[in-house]
């Protein structure tokens, strides 16, 4: 059976060592590039299913690598970054990264992110059901059930929630969500988004300060809990 191919672009030996070892054990085929140029050329010859990209590379900026890559490829890219400024995360996501993971991270977290982005690159046809914990969203019937009972959302709230559910497990930036729901001519004040999210939270979560379904990434955006229906083991691909 074909193994899933992962390309790691990272210059630090210690970090690449433990990632390579983990990926090997998990049954992935992993290729390792030490700098941006090597990474770009490997991404054409090796045809990875997912790329792990470090932002601080010796020869070029990770964001430039991402931009070049995106000019011809849609392969999922997960950013590995030591940078903690929210603005940098936002620009990486807006440049087309699928996800980011901040150093330091555990192997469990890394594997979960890889599985999420692989799933999104094999996007299932819409019309399926999103299900996690006690929440169920039926996209076809436009129905939301919480513990079996129907939840009533406004039009905007429904659009917001389904947008997040369709991308469950991934961070969607404020600007991405604003653009998708309110269109490009909305001013960049995201207060309206915050208020709508607060309303959704009050309808779905038992305690708005301890959310189970929609999580906040301060200064970046929102992330919805993984769809349990879509949890396909890695060997499927």
């Amino acid at each position: 059976m074909n193994k899933i191919k992962v390309l790691l672009i990272e210059d630090d030996r210690s970090i690449s060592n433990f990632i390579t070892a983990t990926m090997d054990r998990e049954g992935y085929k992993i290729m390792h590039a030490l700098n941006g140029r090597e990474g770009l050329s490997l991404s054409t010859s090796f045809c990875p299913n997912v790329i792990l990209l470090d932002l601080g590379l010796p020869d070029m900026d990770g964001l430039d690598v991402l931009q070049k890559l995106r000019s011809w490829s849609d392969v999922p890219v997960i950013i590995i970054s030591a940078r903690t400024k929210e603005q940098e995360k936002v620009s990486a996501l807006d440049l087309g990264a699928d996800d980011y993971i901040t150093k330091p991270f555990g192997t469990g977290e890394l594997m979960a992110r890889i599985r999420t982005s692989l799933r999104h690159s094999h996007a299932q046809t819409p019309g399926h059901v999103y299900k996690t914990l006690d929440l169920e969203i039926d996209f076809e019937k436009r129905l939301i059930r919480l513990r079996g009972e129907e939840v009533h959302l406004t039009q905007i709230e429904y659009q917001l929630l389904t947008l997040l559910a369709e991308n469950s497990g991934r961070v969607l930036t404020y600007s991405y969500i604003m653009n998708a729901i309110w269109g490009p001519y909305m001013d960049n004040n995201n207060q309206i988004l915050r208020v709508n999210m607060a309303n959704i939270r009050r309808k779905l979560e038992q305690n708005p300060a301890q959310p189970q379904y929609v999580f906040t990434e301060i200064g970046v955006g929102y992330r919805m809990r993984e769809n349990e229906n879509g949890a396909i083991p890695a060997e499927r691909f």
Partner: protein
């Protein structure tokens, strides 16, 4: 000279000081208005009480005082003095509407008025310069204070970083040198120690990073309106990853609250306080985290049900300097630094942070103003 220097030194100041062009325009306006008022008042006075020139001169002197106080430099005052002297001569002394410098006592009026104005201008210029100097000195004092705090923090931290680093180096070299002689339990203990020490280091680094978000000398931060529940939610989520077994009861107001803050910093404060309660309370009873909405501010309370704070600890809760004494290496390592960072963050938000004992444990409370102080910072 002084002014231009201070503007160059701190760009913030230029917001307060208007550009020279505007200042001169304002000065000219003030001069014109004062002279006009004095002239009109004098006319009115002359009309009601004729032949009393002394008071006319007083009207002009009053106007000159105002001009000296509120205009920049000497030139405006002197120009207005000239104008006043000529106006009095031309408009209000016999012969009316004629310039006549041979009038009895006139040179004396002229000299006295010029003298008064000159002295006034000098005095007020001094006053302005002095108040600027005082402001500058206060700023420098605040900078020095901040610098001292940084130095203290750095010293305390470097001290504290050594302990876990020693643990990591020692344990890993032990493992490398004698792996074969160690039982698997021993190997596991060594690895667990390394793991725990590195996590402690990471925690410390997160705290230090958060301090770098506070901009140096002026303790200023970038605040945006953030929903309280989102900030609290993310803090709890991060904490849960680190302490999966910790029990925290959260109570926040039902209404949607948005307050100005640097969300990353407030998240850090929340994490630090809750972590203190988890690690140092010596109890596994659930910790209460309560957010209360008040008219002017929002308060965040962390209440644990453990052994409480010692008398000694209560004395200087938020000071890094306590780290110089023998307590530094006990089990409460890192607590002082975490708390002093919290204090710095909350102070930068114009809020308050306090800690005290309640009947069955310790309680920390921080408040953030809803509007006003923080908003006007921008």
């Amino acid at each position: 000279m002084f002014r231009s220097l201070s503007v160059k030194k701190s760009p913030r100041k230029s917001f307060r000081l208007k550009p020279p062009f505007t200042r001169h325009a304002i000065s000219i306006l003030i001069c014109a208005a004062c002279m006009l008022c004095a002239t009109l008042a004098s006319f009115l006075y002359q009309h009601i009480v004729p032949d009393n020139h002394a008071n006319v001169a007083l009207f002009y002197i009053l106007a000159l005082v105002i001009i000296a106080r509120w205009t920049v430099g000497y030139s405006y005052g002197i120009a207005c003095t000239l104008f006043s002297v000529i106006a009095i001569n031309y408009l209000f002394t016999y012969p009316y509407y004629k310039i006549n410098f041979t009038l009895t006592g006139y040179p004396i009026t002229f000299l006295l008025m010029s003298g008064i104005t000159l002295i006034l201008c000098t005095m007020t210029s001094h006053m302005t310069i002095q108040s600027e100097m005082i402001a500058e000195r206060e700023k420098r004092l605040a900078e020095a204070e901040m610098e001292k705090m940084r130095a203290n923090l750095l010293r305390a931290i470097s001290h504290d970083l050594r302990t876990p680093l020693t643990g990591i180096i020692g344990n890993s070299s032990l493992f490398l040198e004698s792996q074969n002689d160690l039982s698997s339990t021993e190997q596991r203990t060594i690895m667990t120690n390394i793991y725990e020490d590195s996590n402690w280091l990471l925690n410390m680094v997160e705290n230090l990073l958060s301090v770098t978000r506070i901009q140096g000398d002026s303790l200023s931060i970038n605040t945006t309106e953030e929903p309280v529940e989102e900030v609290v939610g993310e803090a709890l989520e991060k904490l849960e990853k680190r302490y999966p077994d910790a029990a925290i009861r959260v109570k926040i107001p039902e209404e949607f609250l948005m307050i100005p803050m640097d969300a990353v910093l407030i998240e850090q404060v929340t994490i630090n306080l809750l972590e203190n309660a988890i690690v140092h309370s010596g109890s596994i009873l659930p910790i209460d985290f309560i957010v209360e909405d008040h008219p002017e501010h929002v308060s965040f309370i962390v209440r644990d049900y453990g052994k409480g704070l010692s008398e000694e600890k209560l004395q200087n809760l938020f000071e890094t300097s306590t780290y110089n004494n023998s307590q530094s290496s006990d089990s409460r390592k890192g607590m002082g630094i975490g708390l002093s960072i919290c204090k710095t963050i909350i102070t930068a938000h114009h809020g308050t942070l306090s800690g005290r004992n309640h009947a069955d444990g310790a309680e920390f409370c921080f408040t953030l103003p809803k509007v006003g102080a923080v908003a006007s910072e921008k």
